[in-house]
Symmetry: C2
Subunit: 182 residues, 2 copies
C-alpha cells in the first residue's frame, strides 16, 4: 500500500454516459480525515503520429464541443470496448485520414488529466503511409484532413489551432526527430 | 461560424462539483441530425518545469484517486477563480516544493482532453530556483518532493511512474534543451 493511499469509504455513481462516467468518492486520507474526489472514467484513447514521405504530418480538424471551437489534432479516437490499442490506432488512422500504414510503432502512453480522469492515451508513430481510399466517418463525425510541413505545424501551434496535449507532444516529438537527423 | 459547428439545442446540468462540472449537451450537427455531447468544465491548471543549477528537475509524487495509484509529476495545480496563471504557477511551485524562482517563462499551453473536457494547462519554466522553506500543503494534499537527474527522469518514464501528459511533455522538453546544448 502506498504511503499516500486514499481509501474509498463510499462511491456514488453520478452519471454513466456514452463516453464518460462520473463518480463521487468519499475517501479517507493518510491523516485520517475524509475528503471527496470527483472521478471521471474514460475508456482510453489512441493517437497516431503519421509523417508522410514528403515530410508532411497528417492532421484532422474537428469541432470540439467542450471548447466550442475546432482544433487541429493528430488522428485519434477512443478505444472501443476490448479493442487492442494497436488495432484501434490503425482503424482511426484509416477512418479519419483514409491512409493505411506498413509499420506502427508505440511511442509512449500517458494519462491526460490524472487529477480527475483515468483517460490513458496511447501514441503510435505510423510509417509506410499509403492513401487507400476516401474518408470513412462515423455518422456524427465531421473532420477535415490536412497534410502540413513542419514549419506549417509550428505556425498552427503559434496560432493556437494546434492546442491539445497529444498534438503538442507530437510536434515536439517531430522537432526532436529533426534535431537528431542533423 | 465554423463549417463543423455543433449548435447547442439543450444543455442539461448533471453535476456541479468542487473541481469539475458535468453537462450533457444535445447538439445539432452540420448534417442537421442531432447527437449528445458529454462535457466536463474545469477551471484550468498550471504546471512548472523547474530544473535546478545541479541539473535536476523538481518532481512531486502524489496519489491520484482517479487512477488508484501514485504518479510522479511536475509541480502543478488547478487555477483558483480569477487567479493569474503566472501567480498560480509561482504559488504551486512554492506550496508543493518549497522553492521560489527568479524567472518564470511561459513555454506553452494545451488542452488535456479536448474530446470531453475544457481543461487548459499552462506550462511554465522556472529558473533561478531557491529553496525557501519547508513545504506548505493544503489540508488534503499529501505529496513527496524529489529532485532527479535527466537519466533518472527517463527511468521513471520507463517504469511508468512518470506517466501523465504534462510531465511527459516536460521530459521531452528537457531532452530538447539538452540536444540544443550539444
Amino acid at each position: 500500500m502506498s504511503k499516500f493511499e486514499e481509501r474509498t469509504i463510499h462511491r456514488k455513481t453520478i452519471f454513466e454516459g456514452r463516453i464518460i462516467d462520473l463518480y463521487l468518492d468519499e475517501v479517507s486520507l493518510p491523516n485520517g480525515k475524509t475528503s471527496s474526489r470527483e472521478i471521471i472514467k474514460h475508456p482510453g484513447a489512441v493517437a497516431v503520429i503519421a509523417i508522410t514521405e514528403e515530410e508532411k504530418i497528417l492532421l484532422v480538424e474537428q469541432y470540439r464541443k467542450a471548447l466550442e471551437r475546432t482544433l487541429i489534432e493528430i488522428p485519434a479516437g477512443k478505444l472501443e470496448k476490448g479493442e487492442d490499442p494497436r488495432e484501434s490506432a490503425k482503424r482511426e488512422l484509416m477512418e479519419e485520414t483514409g491512409y493505411t500504414c506498413e509499420n506502427l510503432e508505440h511511442i509512449t502512453s500517458f494519462y491526460t488529466s490524472p487529477g480527475f480522469a483515468n483517460e490513458l492515451v496511447h501514441i503510435y508513430q505510423a510509417t509506410g503511409l499509403k492513401q487507400e481510399r476516401e474518408l470513412q466517418l462515423d455518422e456524427d463525425e465531421f473532420v477535415s484532413v490536412m497534410e502540413v510541413t513542419y514549419d506549417e505545424a509550428l505556425n498552427l501551434v503559434k496560432e493556437q489551432k494546434i492546442f491539445d496535449a497529444k498534438t503538442m507532444y507530437a510536434v515536439q516529438y517531430w522537432q526532436m526527430l529533426k534535431q537528431q537527423e542533423k
